[in-house]
């Protein structure tokens, strides 16, 4: 049985026994390489399920849709390790109750899709631990290497040029599982810290604030840069912030549902004396 068939059977079982009220997975998209989210409420709907190497989108963000989890019923969801980290963060930030989530875990290794052992987020902690240990892996993306070579001025110019193309469509924000605020800071206009028109300065303000808001929270799933209509490599800046946070605070986002948010927590034995 292929992994797709195996999981299809599991989804049907979950839905028909009433163990979950919904399973979020993938179905075919507009082109052969694209997949769309599939929200399955009945066993029949699971027939459309697709699980292959094109299923790269991180679906975790759908879990925080207003009202979805408020009835305390359980929901199943297809997640790669990055998505599992996302739901750990969402749980740590009180956006969902992790016990309501049934994880249908999978991983993509080149041309292969592998099932992951376990169904609750905690089952994957050893896996995430091993990802953390190999986290600052050799930069595979040639662009990263290029950026790493730049001096700070060149790097600033690089990002300024990239961000100058931003059209402030906020697709990146919509696609990101971590951008769950009811009102985003860009939408706050009393006062308007971030300019809404898409000129270079306003764009910089927006993209840099977003990078700050994601530091220690981004799992590098790439939803944002896949969503960006002008192809800004957004994930790279967030991944870099992740590296900084890992180096400075030994914090790898999404280790567990009890992990304290790095920028909100402090240790009483911090060497800085301003911490009382």
């Amino acid at each position: 049985m292929t992994i797709q068939e195996k999981y299809k059977a599991r989804v049907k079982e979950l839905l028909s026994t009433g163990a979950v009220k919904m399973v979020i997975g993938y179905k075919p998209g507009s082109t052969a390489e694209r997949r769309r989210p599939l929200f399955m409420r009945s066993p029949e709907e699971a027939d459309q399920l697709v699980l292959d190497t094109a299923c790269i989108a991180n679906l975790a963000g759908y879990l925080v849709a207003e009202g979805l989890l408020s009835d305390d019923k359980r929901v199943g969801i297809f997640l790669k390790p990055d998505g599992i980290r996302s739901i750990n963060i969402l749980a740590a930030e009180a956006q969902l109750n992790i016990d309501q989530i049934v994880v249908l875990g999978f991983d993509i290794d080149g041309q292969e899709v592998n099932a992951l052992e376990g169904e609750s987020a905690g089952d994957f902690s050893a896996l995430i631990e091993s990802i953390k240990d190999h986290a600052p892996e050799a930069p595979r993306n040639p662009l990263i290497e290029q950026i790493e070579q730049m001096n700070p001025i060149q790097r600033f110019d690089f990002w300024q040029t990239e961000f100058s193309r931003c059209i402030k469509c906020y697709a990146c924000r919509q696609a990101c599982p971590m951008c769950y605020c009811r009102r985003c800071i860009v939408d706050s206009n009393q006062p308007q810290w971030i300019n809404t028109s898409s000129h270079t300065l306003g764009n910089l303000e927006w993209n840099i604030i977003r990078a700050f808001h994601l530091s220690g929270r981004c799992v590098g799933c790439g939803n944002c840069d896949r969503a960006c209509p002008v192809n800004i490599p957004l994930r790279l800046i967030n991944a870099r912030m992740g590296q900084e946070v890992l180096g400075a605070f030994d914090h790898f986002a999404g280790m567990s549902e009890t992990q304290e948010p790095v920028l909100a927590s402090f240790k009483k034995d911090d060497s800085e004396t301003f911490i009382l």
């Binding site: 009811r182 009102r183 985003c184 706050s188 304290e260 909100a264 009382l276």
Partner: protein
């Protein structure tokens, strides 16, 4: 329409020499919304304040900017003046053109330009200021005093004598602290025990003082006027309500060879013990770590010997939760561990002791009943070398500061020695003699002139043993010669250091500490007894090395601060507190975690049927200290700080 008054102060020459105040007044006068702009030599003076008040009334001002020194200096002054003129004091802001401008710049034109920008930015802020009212919080009229040394006892007695309730917490089995260990005290040479014990008894019998010994602070929550404190009562294994302190158990206890902490290792105690004969309360504790029963499960001799059945081996630690309005921290000091000075042979040679050990030898209630006898063979030493600054003023191994008391107690030791051992020779190595204090210089002179103490100005480089003598090699810098003295005993004037757990303790209470662990005062000169946390005061050697007079003075000062606090029914606090926009809050609890004062709670928003529709953060204005941490954290920009709202800050920035 905004009608802002701008008052530019020359501060004598302080500002006027670098900033063209007149020009500043003219140009800011043209800024939109500014109704009047005046400059004057000293606005903080009486006539200056009158000008300001007059201008407020005449122009019906809606806001005031005083361009002057730092708000730390005179914000309160000018806000009060505004209030007197009928303007809400929070509509007054200070533009700091002294510390942040005239004092740090040399170019007249550019400094004037910068002063203009600073002032303009404050004008834009003030236009958006809101009238605020001070927050009223109730006061629990009960004080917590932590530490039962002389400082803690004094503070407790002063507060109690004024009719307020006090809980005095001491972690040792008895009150007393270091003063109980001392023999006689400089500069009067009166017996320490004789002046201390009556105080201890008074504190324990005072109707307004609840004494908790063998107790420690577990946690502190809350804020000025309203602290919630959990106190751990360590298991004594002796029932305090029935024990009469007869001491039968102590006499019978077979585990007798335990080194006595009170006697600094110069004497022995039993496993069930009171630290010293005059202990208050005079009720023993069992030292679990040494007790044979706790170690081997066999013994219970004490239990059998107690006619009142007061011994209970099953006792557990207990917790007491109490509310307090104020806290006095009086946890005292420790003497530094001299073993860092290997070259002085402390810990290696029995006859090299520290000052506190010498106090025990000289004390009538000490292990030698007040006779100066060498620890090694019990012989009376014919001469003693005292080494001052053993640890103090030493950047390499010790501490950088001066311990302040060692000059004095060393002089005292030399006198006690001269009085007790006729013909005994005291030789003292010192760096400087610091005897500033009432009667202090006279005291050291007496040691030199009457009691013939020989002072050598110089350091000791090594102490070693030779033919039964301690050889002390030092230098006499005044003669420019090395000196070697064969001594019978060596006493090190050890540095005063903070309690080993001072930093952790400070974190439990929520107060600051310096690099060593001494607790920080709010202002070294002007607020030396307040900690930086409102409602927590400091007394005694926990703040810095101190002698008894200073410790007592600070304790009484703390007590007066506590009493001033308790003289009010309600406290007024600055209304600079955060508030949350419940509509936009995402309930991520980042702020809840980030708030250093635990001021943010989780609040359920219910629908009409009582169902929780969402949970949001909610700031308790009584707890919030206005630090702004949460505001900077909140990603959804839901939190704002009164007096420093985002609108105000934004306007300030945009005006630059």
């Amino acid at each position: 329409m905004a009608k802002i008054g701008v008052f530019i102060c020359h501060c004598g020459e302080n500002i006027a020499s670098k900033v063209d105040c007149n020009k500043l007044a003219t140009s800011i006068g043209e800024h939109p919304g500014v109704a009047v702009a005046l400059d004057y030599k000293y606005f903080c003076s009486d006539p200056g304040q009158e000008r300001l008040k007059k201008a407020i009334k005449e122009n019906n001002l809606t806001g005031v900017v005083v361009a002057a020194c730092s708000p730390m200096m005179h914000e309160a002054t000018f806000r009060k003046a505004c209030a007197e003129a009928g303007l809400n004091p929070y509509l007054c802001e200070i533009a700091n053109i002294r510390e942040q401008c005239s004092w740090v710049h040399t170019d007249y034109d550019m400094a004037t330009q910068k002063a203009m920008e600073i002032t303009r930015s404050m004008v834009e802020k003030v236009k958006r200021n809101n009238k605020l009212q001070p927050i009223e919080v109730p006061v629990t009229r009960r004080a917590l005093v932590i530490g039962g040394g002389i400082a803690g006892i004094q503070a407790a007695l002063d507060i109690a004598n004024a009719g307020q309730q006090v809980v005095l917490v001491e972690r040792e089995p008895s009150l007393g602290g270091h003063m109980a260990q001392l023999s006689e005290t400089f500069p009067t040479l009166d017996c320490s025990q004789c002046i201390m014990t009556p105080r201890m008894v008074e504190a324990s019998q005072h109707p307004n003082i609840r004494l908790l010994t063998y107790a420690e602070i577990e946690s502190v929550d809350g804020y000025i006027g309203n602290f919630q404190v959990r106190i751990r009562m360590k298991a004594r294994y002796v029932d305090m309500s029935t024990c009469t302190g007869c001491g039968d158990c102590i006499t019978k206890c077979p585990t007798k060879k335990i080194s006595s902490e009170f006697d600094c290792g110069m004497g022995k105690r039993t496993a069930i013990y009171t630290p010293f004969a005059q202990s208050v309360p005079n009720i023993p504790v069992i030292d679990k770590a040494s007790c044979t029963y706790f170690k081997n499960g066999k013994c219970k001799v004490c239990m059998k010997s107690c006619e009142l059945n007061s011994i209970n081996f099953d006792m557990q630690d207990e917790f007491i939760d109490l509310d307090f309005g104020a806290i006095v921290v009086a946890t005292g000091f420790q003497v530094q561990d001299n073993s860092v000075y290997g070259e002085y042979g402390y810990g290696k040679y029995k006859d090299v002791i520290n000052g506190l050990q010498f106090e025990r030898l000289a004390s009538a209630s000490g292990p030698t009943s007040g006779k100066i006898l060498r620890p090694s063979d019990g012989k009376e030493p014919e001469n003693i070398v005292f080494i001052q600054c053993a640890g103090s003023r030493d950047c390499s191994k010790g501490v950088r500061y001066c311990s302040k008391i060692c000059c004095m107690y060393t002089a005292k030791h030399s006198m006690l020695y001269a009085h007790k051992v006729h013909g005994g020779i005291a030789q003292i190595f010192y760096m400087d003699i610091r005897a500033a204090g009432k009667g202090y210089d006279e005291f050291t002179r007496r040691a030199i002139e009457e009691d013939k103490a020989a002072y050598f100005r110089g350091r000791v480089s090594k102490v070693w043993q030779e033919n039964g003598k301690l050889m002390v090699r030092g230098v006499d810098t005044l003669l420019g010669k090395p000196v070697v003295i064969a001594a019978d005993m060596v006493v090190l004037a050890t540095a005063m250091v903070p309690q080993p757990d001072a930093k952790d303790f400070a974190k439990t209470i929520g107060i600051g500490y310096d690099e060593y662990g001494f607790f920080n005062e709010a202002h070294l000169k002007l607020r030396p007894v307040e900690s930086s946390t409102a409602g927590v005061f400091l007394a005694g050697a926990c703040q810095s090395p101190k002698d008894i007079p200073d410790s007592v003075a600070q304790a009484s000062a703390s007590a007066s601060k506590v009493l001033a606090l308790f003289s009010k029914d309600k406290l007024e606090r600055e209304p600079v507190v955060a508030s949350n926009n419940e509509t936009t809050c995402a309930g991520c609890w980042g702020c809840v975690l980030a708030c250093p004062y635990n001021a943010i709670e989780k609040k359920d928003i219910l629908d009409r049927s009582g169902k929780v529709i969402k949970r949001v953060a909610s700031v308790n204005p009584g707890l919030c200290q206005g630090c702004g941490t949460c505001v900077t954290f909140c990603r959804s920009n839901s939190l704002d700080l009164a007096g420093f709202t985002e609108k105000q800050i934004f306007a300030e920035v945009m005006a630059l």
